[in-house]
Symmetry: C2
Subunit: 216 residues, 2 copies
Protein backbone atom coordinates (compact mmCIF):
# COMPACT_ATOMS: atom_id res chain seq x y z
CA UNK A 1 0.00 0.00 0.00
CA UNK A 2 1.26 3.44 -0.86
CA UNK A 3 1.84 6.19 1.63
CA UNK A 4 -1.13 8.07 0.20
CA UNK A 5 -4.21 6.57 1.72
CA UNK A 6 -6.51 7.67 -1.07
CA UNK A 7 -4.43 6.02 -3.74
CA UNK A 8 -3.47 9.38 -5.15
CA UNK A 9 -7.00 10.41 -6.01
CA UNK A 10 -6.67 13.73 -4.28
CA UNK A 11 -3.89 14.73 -6.65
CA UNK A 12 -5.96 14.17 -9.76
CA UNK A 13 -7.15 16.86 -12.13
CA UNK A 14 -10.79 16.89 -11.11
CA UNK A 15 -12.88 19.80 -10.02
CA UNK A 16 -13.45 19.97 -6.31
CA UNK A 17 -14.64 22.39 -3.67
CA UNK A 18 -13.04 22.89 -0.28
CA UNK A 19 -15.13 22.92 2.88
CA UNK A 20 -14.50 23.51 6.56
CA UNK A 21 -16.63 22.10 9.31
CA UNK A 22 -16.31 22.53 13.10
CA UNK A 23 -15.81 19.68 15.54
CA UNK A 24 -18.82 17.51 16.38
CA UNK A 25 -20.72 18.44 13.22
CA UNK A 26 -21.95 15.89 10.66
CA UNK A 27 -20.18 15.65 7.33
CA UNK A 28 -22.48 12.98 5.94
CA UNK A 29 -25.96 12.14 7.10
CA UNK A 30 -26.90 8.41 7.25
CA UNK A 31 -29.85 8.87 4.87
CA UNK A 32 -27.90 10.99 2.45
CA UNK A 33 -26.82 9.80 -0.97
CA UNK A 34 -25.38 12.88 -2.56
CA UNK A 35 -23.66 13.28 -5.88
CA UNK A 36 -20.48 14.24 -4.06
CA UNK A 37 -17.69 12.23 -2.48
CA UNK A 38 -15.69 13.95 0.28
CA UNK A 39 -12.00 13.40 0.98
CA UNK A 40 -10.57 14.58 4.29
CA UNK A 41 -7.84 17.24 3.97
CA UNK A 42 -7.18 18.08 7.62
CA UNK A 43 -8.47 17.00 11.01
CA UNK A 44 -10.00 13.79 12.30
CA UNK A 45 -13.44 12.40 11.51
CA UNK A 46 -15.22 9.14 12.18
CA UNK A 47 -17.60 6.93 10.24
CA UNK A 48 -20.15 5.04 12.31
CA UNK A 49 -23.48 3.28 12.21
CA UNK A 50 -26.10 3.66 14.89
CA UNK A 51 -29.18 2.00 16.33
CA UNK A 52 -32.39 3.97 16.90
CA UNK A 53 -31.81 3.88 20.66
CA UNK A 54 -28.46 5.62 20.39
CA UNK A 55 -26.04 2.71 20.62
CA UNK A 56 -23.46 3.04 17.93
CA UNK A 57 -20.33 1.50 16.46
CA UNK A 58 -17.45 3.39 14.92
CA UNK A 59 -16.35 1.58 11.77
CA UNK A 60 -13.34 3.73 10.97
CA UNK A 61 -11.54 6.88 11.89
CA UNK A 62 -10.78 9.18 8.97
CA UNK A 63 -7.53 11.11 8.75
CA UNK A 64 -6.24 13.48 6.06
CA UNK A 65 -6.17 11.73 2.71
CA UNK A 66 -8.94 9.28 3.54
CA UNK A 67 -11.87 8.94 1.20
CA UNK A 68 -15.13 9.14 3.10
CA UNK A 69 -16.55 5.73 2.29
CA UNK A 70 -14.54 4.07 -0.45
CA UNK A 71 -17.48 1.87 -1.35
CA UNK A 72 -19.73 4.79 -2.14
CA UNK A 73 -17.54 5.79 -5.08
CA UNK A 74 -19.07 3.40 -7.55
CA UNK A 75 -22.44 2.34 -6.16
CA UNK A 76 -24.88 3.60 -3.55
CA UNK A 77 -23.93 2.83 0.02
CA UNK A 78 -25.74 4.42 2.89
CA UNK A 79 -26.38 4.07 6.57
CA UNK A 80 -23.09 5.55 7.70
CA UNK A 81 -22.87 8.73 9.70
CA UNK A 82 -19.66 10.69 9.20
CA UNK A 83 -18.89 13.15 11.95
CA UNK A 84 -16.07 15.61 12.48
CA UNK A 85 -14.05 14.92 15.63
CA UNK A 86 -11.80 17.95 15.38
CA UNK A 87 -12.39 20.79 12.98
CA UNK A 88 -12.20 19.19 9.56
CA UNK A 89 -11.50 20.48 6.11
CA UNK A 90 -12.46 18.31 3.19
CA UNK A 91 -12.75 18.38 -0.56
CA UNK A 92 -15.96 17.41 -2.31
CA UNK A 93 -15.59 15.67 -5.67
CA UNK A 94 -18.39 15.02 -8.10
CA UNK A 95 -19.03 11.30 -8.01
CA UNK A 96 -19.68 11.08 -11.72
CA UNK A 97 -16.40 12.77 -12.62
CA UNK A 98 -14.42 10.39 -10.41
CA UNK A 99 -16.27 7.47 -11.87
CA UNK A 100 -15.54 8.56 -15.44
CA UNK A 101 -11.90 9.05 -14.64
CA UNK A 102 -11.62 5.69 -12.92
CA UNK A 103 -13.10 3.86 -15.89
CA UNK A 104 -10.79 5.72 -18.24
CA UNK A 105 -7.69 4.72 -16.31
CA UNK A 106 -7.68 1.07 -15.38
CA UNK A 107 -4.60 1.49 -13.20
CA UNK A 108 -6.61 3.76 -10.91
CA UNK A 109 -9.53 1.37 -10.97
CA UNK A 110 -7.26 -1.44 -9.82
CA UNK A 111 -6.06 0.76 -6.98
CA UNK A 112 -9.66 1.36 -5.99
CA UNK A 113 -10.33 -2.38 -5.89
CA UNK A 114 -7.37 -2.73 -3.56
CA UNK A 115 -8.57 0.10 -1.33
CA UNK A 116 -12.00 -1.48 -1.27
CA UNK A 117 -10.62 -4.83 -0.19
CA UNK A 118 -8.53 -3.18 2.49
CA UNK A 119 -11.66 -1.54 3.85
CA UNK A 120 -13.46 -4.87 3.85
CA UNK A 121 -10.54 -6.60 5.54
CA UNK A 122 -10.53 -3.94 8.26
CA UNK A 123 -14.27 -4.39 8.79
CA UNK A 124 -13.80 -8.15 9.12
CA UNK A 125 -10.93 -7.70 11.57
CA UNK A 126 -13.10 -5.31 13.55
CA UNK A 127 -15.76 -8.01 13.82
CA UNK A 128 -13.14 -10.47 15.02
CA UNK A 129 -11.87 -7.99 17.60
CA UNK A 130 -15.36 -7.18 18.90
CA UNK A 131 -16.48 -10.78 18.96
CA UNK A 132 -13.40 -12.43 20.35
CA UNK A 133 -11.08 -10.01 22.17
CA UNK A 134 -11.27 -8.45 25.59
CA UNK A 135 -11.40 -4.82 26.53
CA UNK A 136 -7.70 -4.21 27.11
CA UNK A 137 -6.79 -6.05 23.92
CA UNK A 138 -9.26 -3.99 21.89
CA UNK A 139 -8.09 -0.68 23.29
CA UNK A 140 -4.40 -1.48 22.93
CA UNK A 141 -5.01 -2.55 19.33
CA UNK A 142 -6.90 0.62 18.55
CA UNK A 143 -4.04 2.70 19.88
CA UNK A 144 -1.47 0.77 17.86
CA UNK A 145 -3.55 0.95 14.68
CA UNK A 146 -4.03 4.68 15.04
CA UNK A 147 -0.34 5.09 15.78
CA UNK A 148 0.50 3.34 12.50
CA UNK A 149 -2.10 5.31 10.61
CA UNK A 150 -0.73 8.60 11.88
CA UNK A 151 2.84 7.48 11.21
CA UNK A 152 1.98 6.68 7.60
CA UNK A 153 0.93 10.27 7.12
CA UNK A 154 3.68 12.09 8.93
CA UNK A 155 6.28 9.88 7.26
CA UNK A 156 8.11 9.55 10.54
CA UNK A 157 7.31 7.26 13.40
CA UNK A 158 7.30 9.22 16.62
CA UNK A 159 6.41 7.92 20.04
CA UNK A 160 4.16 10.93 20.62
CA UNK A 161 1.36 11.80 18.27
CA UNK A 162 -1.75 13.90 17.99
CA UNK A 163 -4.69 12.13 19.62
CA UNK A 164 -7.92 14.13 19.60
CA UNK A 165 -10.24 11.25 20.52
CA UNK A 166 -12.50 11.54 23.53
CA UNK A 167 -13.04 8.41 25.57
CA UNK A 168 -16.55 8.07 24.17
CA UNK A 169 -15.02 7.80 20.69
CA UNK A 170 -12.81 4.98 21.91
CA UNK A 171 -15.82 3.38 23.58
CA UNK A 172 -17.85 3.51 20.38
CA UNK A 173 -14.95 2.06 18.42
CA UNK A 174 -14.34 -0.82 20.83
CA UNK A 175 -17.90 -1.70 21.82
CA UNK A 176 -17.35 -0.64 25.44
CA UNK A 177 -18.71 2.03 27.77
CA UNK A 178 -16.85 5.29 28.39
CA UNK A 179 -16.53 4.34 32.06
CA UNK A 180 -14.80 1.09 31.28
CA UNK A 181 -12.54 2.76 28.73
CA UNK A 182 -11.47 5.19 31.42
CA UNK A 183 -10.53 2.32 33.74
CA UNK A 184 -8.52 0.47 31.10
CA UNK A 185 -6.73 3.60 29.92
CA UNK A 186 -5.90 4.32 33.53
CA UNK A 187 -4.39 0.88 33.93
CA UNK A 188 -2.35 1.19 30.74
CA UNK A 189 -1.00 4.50 31.96
CA UNK A 190 -0.26 3.31 35.49
CA UNK A 191 1.54 0.33 33.95
CA UNK A 192 3.76 2.78 32.11
CA UNK A 193 2.76 1.69 28.61
CA UNK A 194 1.22 4.94 27.41
CA UNK A 195 0.67 8.49 28.48
CA UNK A 196 -2.21 10.69 27.42
CA UNK A 197 -2.05 14.39 28.09
CA UNK A 198 -3.60 17.31 26.40
CA UNK A 199 -4.69 16.00 23.05
CA UNK A 200 -1.69 13.80 22.40
CA UNK A 201 -0.66 10.26 23.17
CA UNK A 202 2.77 8.84 23.87
CA UNK A 203 3.67 5.19 23.60
CA UNK A 204 6.17 4.64 26.39
CA UNK A 205 6.56 0.88 26.22
CA UNK A 206 5.74 -0.35 22.74
CA UNK A 207 6.63 -3.99 23.28
CA UNK A 208 4.48 -4.33 26.38
CA UNK A 209 1.60 -2.60 24.62
CA UNK A 210 1.99 -4.95 21.69
CA UNK A 211 1.92 -7.91 24.03
CA UNK A 212 -1.33 -6.72 25.59
CA UNK A 213 -2.72 -6.10 22.10
CA UNK A 214 -1.75 -9.58 20.91
CA UNK A 215 -0.24 -7.63 18.04
CA UNK A 216 0.23 -9.35 14.60
Amino acid sequence: MSKEADGGLSALPIASTLHTIPARRLILHPKEWSEFVPIVCSGWAMSSIALPDGRRQVISFLLPGDIVSVGSLLAPLSGHTVEAITEVTYRKFKRQEIKDLLFARSDLLERLFTLWNEAKARADQLALDLGRRRADERIARLILRLSEKVAKRSLVRTQTFDFPLRQRHIADATGLTPVHVSKILGELQRAGMIEISGRSLTILNASELQRVADWR
Copy 2:
Protein backbone atom coordinates in the same frame (compact mmCIF):
# COMPACT_ATOMS: atom_id res chain seq x y z
CA MET B 1 -31.53 -7.26 -5.12
CA SER B 2 -32.33 -10.11 -7.44
CA LYS B 3 -33.32 -13.55 -6.35
CA GLU B 4 -29.99 -14.88 -7.57
CA ALA B 5 -27.43 -14.08 -4.96
CA ASP B 6 -24.50 -14.16 -7.34
CA GLY B 7 -26.03 -11.60 -9.63
CA GLY B 8 -26.47 -14.16 -12.36
CA LEU B 9 -22.81 -14.97 -12.68
CA SER B 10 -23.42 -18.67 -12.37
CA ALA B 11 -25.55 -18.61 -15.53
CA LEU B 12 -22.84 -17.05 -17.66
CA PRO B 13 -21.03 -18.75 -20.51
CA ILE B 14 -17.72 -19.29 -18.75
CA ALA B 15 -15.81 -22.49 -18.33
CA SER B 16 -16.06 -24.00 -14.89
CA THR B 17 -15.39 -27.25 -13.12
CA LEU B 18 -17.67 -28.87 -10.58
CA HIS B 19 -16.33 -30.12 -7.26
CA THR B 20 -17.74 -31.97 -4.27
CA ILE B 21 -16.34 -31.72 -0.77
CA PRO B 22 -17.49 -33.45 2.42
CA ALA B 23 -18.65 -31.66 5.55
CA ARG B 24 -15.99 -30.05 7.78
CA ARG B 25 -13.40 -29.89 4.98
CA LEU B 26 -11.75 -26.63 3.87
CA ILE B 27 -12.73 -25.13 0.53
CA LEU B 28 -10.29 -22.23 0.74
CA HIS B 29 -7.21 -22.00 2.88
CA PRO B 30 -6.49 -18.63 4.56
CA LYS B 31 -3.08 -18.30 2.89
CA GLU B 32 -4.34 -19.33 -0.49
CA TRP B 33 -4.70 -16.95 -3.39
CA SER B 34 -5.59 -19.19 -6.28
CA GLU B 35 -6.50 -18.30 -9.82
CA PHE B 36 -9.96 -19.73 -9.23
CA VAL B 37 -13.12 -18.33 -7.71
CA PRO B 38 -15.60 -20.84 -6.26
CA ILE B 39 -19.38 -20.43 -6.27
CA VAL B 40 -21.45 -22.65 -4.00
CA CYS B 41 -23.89 -24.91 -5.86
CA SER B 42 -25.34 -26.96 -3.00
CA GLY B 43 -24.89 -27.22 0.74
CA TRP B 44 -23.85 -24.74 3.41
CA ALA B 45 -20.38 -23.30 3.97
CA MET B 46 -18.93 -20.59 6.14
CA SER B 47 -16.29 -17.92 5.72
CA SER B 48 -14.35 -17.01 8.84
CA ILE B 49 -11.16 -15.47 10.16
CA ALA B 50 -9.21 -16.90 13.04
CA LEU B 51 -6.61 -16.01 15.65
CA PRO B 52 -3.54 -18.18 16.20
CA ASP B 53 -4.95 -19.40 19.52
CA GLY B 54 -8.07 -20.79 17.87
CA ARG B 55 -10.62 -18.07 18.57
CA ARG B 56 -12.50 -17.29 15.43
CA GLN B 57 -15.27 -15.20 13.94
CA VAL B 58 -17.63 -16.29 11.19
CA ILE B 59 -18.07 -13.44 8.74
CA SER B 60 -20.73 -15.02 6.57
CA PHE B 61 -22.55 -18.24 5.85
CA LEU B 62 -22.53 -19.28 2.21
CA LEU B 63 -25.56 -20.88 0.59
CA PRO B 64 -26.11 -22.08 -2.96
CA GLY B 65 -25.52 -19.25 -5.40
CA ASP B 66 -23.11 -17.38 -3.16
CA ILE B 67 -19.75 -16.33 -4.50
CA VAL B 68 -16.99 -17.34 -2.12
CA SER B 69 -15.59 -13.90 -1.29
CA VAL B 70 -17.01 -11.32 -3.66
CA GLY B 71 -14.05 -9.05 -2.99
CA SER B 72 -11.57 -11.57 -4.26
CA LEU B 73 -12.98 -11.38 -7.78
CA LEU B 74 -11.00 -8.37 -8.88
CA ALA B 75 -8.14 -7.99 -6.43
CA PRO B 76 -6.29 -10.22 -3.99
CA LEU B 77 -8.04 -10.74 -0.68
CA SER B 78 -6.84 -13.31 1.76
CA GLY B 79 -7.04 -14.32 5.37
CA HIS B 80 -10.43 -15.96 5.16
CA THR B 81 -10.95 -19.64 5.77
CA VAL B 82 -13.87 -21.15 3.88
CA GLU B 83 -15.13 -24.39 5.34
CA ALA B 84 -17.90 -26.76 4.30
CA ILE B 85 -20.61 -27.17 6.95
CA THR B 86 -22.60 -29.81 5.11
CA GLU B 87 -21.36 -31.63 2.07
CA VAL B 88 -20.85 -28.90 -0.50
CA THR B 89 -20.69 -28.85 -4.27
CA TYR B 90 -19.21 -25.81 -5.91
CA ARG B 91 -18.09 -24.56 -9.26
CA LYS B 92 -14.62 -23.14 -9.79
CA PHE B 93 -14.31 -20.31 -12.31
CA LYS B 94 -11.07 -18.93 -13.66
CA ARG B 95 -10.62 -15.53 -12.10
CA GLN B 96 -9.19 -14.02 -15.24
CA GLU B 97 -12.13 -15.13 -17.38
CA ILE B 98 -14.63 -13.63 -14.98
CA LYS B 99 -12.63 -10.46 -14.86
CA ASP B 100 -12.50 -10.18 -18.64
CA LEU B 101 -16.22 -10.76 -18.91
CA LEU B 102 -17.01 -8.21 -16.21
CA PHE B 103 -14.99 -5.52 -17.92
CA ALA B 104 -16.64 -6.32 -21.23
CA ARG B 105 -20.12 -5.93 -19.81
CA SER B 106 -20.51 -2.85 -17.68
CA ASP B 107 -23.98 -3.92 -16.52
CA LEU B 108 -22.43 -6.93 -14.82
CA LEU B 109 -19.67 -4.80 -13.39
CA GLU B 110 -22.25 -2.50 -11.83
CA ARG B 111 -23.95 -5.51 -10.30
CA LEU B 112 -20.65 -6.58 -8.83
CA PHE B 113 -20.16 -3.17 -7.23
CA THR B 114 -23.57 -3.55 -5.65
CA LEU B 115 -22.76 -7.04 -4.36
CA TRP B 116 -19.51 -5.64 -3.05
CA ASN B 117 -21.23 -2.91 -1.11
CA GLU B 118 -23.79 -5.32 0.25
CA ALA B 119 -20.96 -7.48 1.59
CA LYS B 120 -19.35 -4.45 3.21
CA ALA B 121 -22.67 -3.32 4.69
CA ARG B 122 -23.17 -6.78 6.21
CA ALA B 123 -19.67 -6.71 7.70
CA ASP B 124 -20.37 -3.30 9.24
CA GLN B 125 -23.69 -4.47 10.63
CA LEU B 126 -21.93 -7.50 12.07
CA ALA B 127 -19.52 -5.20 13.89
CA LEU B 128 -22.46 -3.21 15.25
CA ASP B 129 -24.17 -6.40 16.42
CA LEU B 130 -21.05 -7.76 18.09
CA GLY B 131 -20.12 -4.48 19.70
CA ARG B 132 -23.52 -3.31 20.84
CA ARG B 133 -26.08 -6.11 21.06
CA ARG B 134 -26.63 -8.78 23.65
CA ALA B 135 -26.55 -12.52 23.25
CA ASP B 136 -30.26 -13.14 22.72
CA GLU B 137 -30.48 -10.25 20.27
CA ARG B 138 -27.53 -11.56 18.27
CA ILE B 139 -28.83 -15.10 18.09
CA ALA B 140 -32.37 -14.07 17.20
CA ARG B 141 -31.03 -11.81 14.46
CA LEU B 142 -28.85 -14.58 13.07
CA ILE B 143 -31.86 -16.88 12.88
CA LEU B 144 -33.98 -14.25 11.15
CA ARG B 145 -31.23 -13.37 8.68
CA LEU B 146 -30.68 -17.00 7.78
CA SER B 147 -34.41 -17.51 7.46
CA GLU B 148 -34.56 -14.66 4.93
CA LYS B 149 -31.51 -15.95 3.11
CA VAL B 150 -33.01 -19.40 2.77
CA ALA B 151 -36.38 -17.97 1.75
CA LYS B 152 -34.76 -15.96 -1.03
CA ARG B 153 -33.47 -19.20 -2.52
CA SER B 154 -36.47 -21.44 -2.13
CA LEU B 155 -38.74 -18.69 -3.47
CA VAL B 156 -41.26 -19.45 -0.78
CA ARG B 157 -41.24 -18.38 2.82
CA THR B 158 -41.85 -21.36 5.02
CA GLN B 159 -41.82 -21.41 8.79
CA THR B 160 -39.63 -24.50 8.76
CA PHE B 161 -36.33 -24.59 6.94
CA ASP B 162 -33.15 -26.57 6.66
CA PHE B 163 -30.73 -25.61 9.43
CA PRO B 164 -27.49 -27.62 9.45
CA LEU B 165 -25.58 -25.32 11.83
CA ARG B 166 -24.04 -26.77 14.97
CA GLN B 167 -24.11 -24.60 18.06
CA ARG B 168 -20.41 -23.94 17.70
CA HIS B 169 -21.11 -22.36 14.31
CA ILE B 170 -23.67 -20.09 15.92
CA ALA B 171 -21.20 -19.33 18.69
CA ASP B 172 -18.49 -18.38 16.20
CA ALA B 173 -20.93 -16.21 14.29
CA THR B 174 -22.19 -14.34 17.36
CA GLY B 175 -19.01 -14.03 19.39
CA LEU B 176 -20.31 -16.29 22.16
CA THR B 177 -19.38 -19.66 23.64
CA PRO B 178 -21.20 -22.84 22.61
CA VAL B 179 -22.39 -23.27 26.19
CA HIS B 180 -24.03 -19.88 26.27
CA VAL B 181 -25.58 -20.44 22.83
CA SER B 182 -27.14 -23.62 24.18
CA LYS B 183 -28.69 -21.72 27.07
CA ILE B 184 -30.14 -18.97 24.88
CA LEU B 185 -31.47 -21.42 22.29
CA GLY B 186 -33.08 -23.36 25.12
CA GLU B 187 -34.79 -20.20 26.36
CA LEU B 188 -36.03 -19.28 22.89
CA GLN B 189 -37.46 -22.77 22.51
CA ARG B 190 -39.04 -22.90 25.96
CA ALA B 191 -40.58 -19.48 25.21
CA GLY B 192 -42.21 -21.03 22.16
CA MET B 193 -40.51 -18.81 19.60
CA ILE B 194 -38.58 -21.46 17.71
CA GLU B 195 -38.12 -25.19 17.55
CA ILE B 196 -34.98 -26.97 16.45
CA SER B 197 -35.11 -30.64 15.71
CA GLY B 198 -33.08 -32.84 13.49
CA ARG B 199 -31.34 -30.47 11.16
CA SER B 200 -34.20 -28.05 10.66
CA LEU B 201 -35.54 -24.98 12.41
CA THR B 202 -39.11 -23.76 12.76
CA ILE B 203 -40.08 -20.22 13.61
CA LEU B 204 -43.17 -20.63 15.78
CA ASN B 205 -43.69 -17.03 16.85
CA ALA B 206 -42.15 -14.68 14.32
CA SER B 207 -43.30 -11.42 15.90
CA GLU B 208 -41.92 -12.29 19.32
CA LEU B 209 -38.65 -13.41 17.76
CA GLN B 210 -38.47 -10.14 15.85
CA ARG B 211 -39.07 -8.21 19.04
CA VAL B 212 -36.22 -10.01 20.78
CA ALA B 213 -34.04 -9.40 17.73
CA ASP B 214 -34.86 -5.68 17.67
CA TRP B 215 -35.55 -6.41 14.02
CA ARG B 216 -35.24 -3.59 11.41
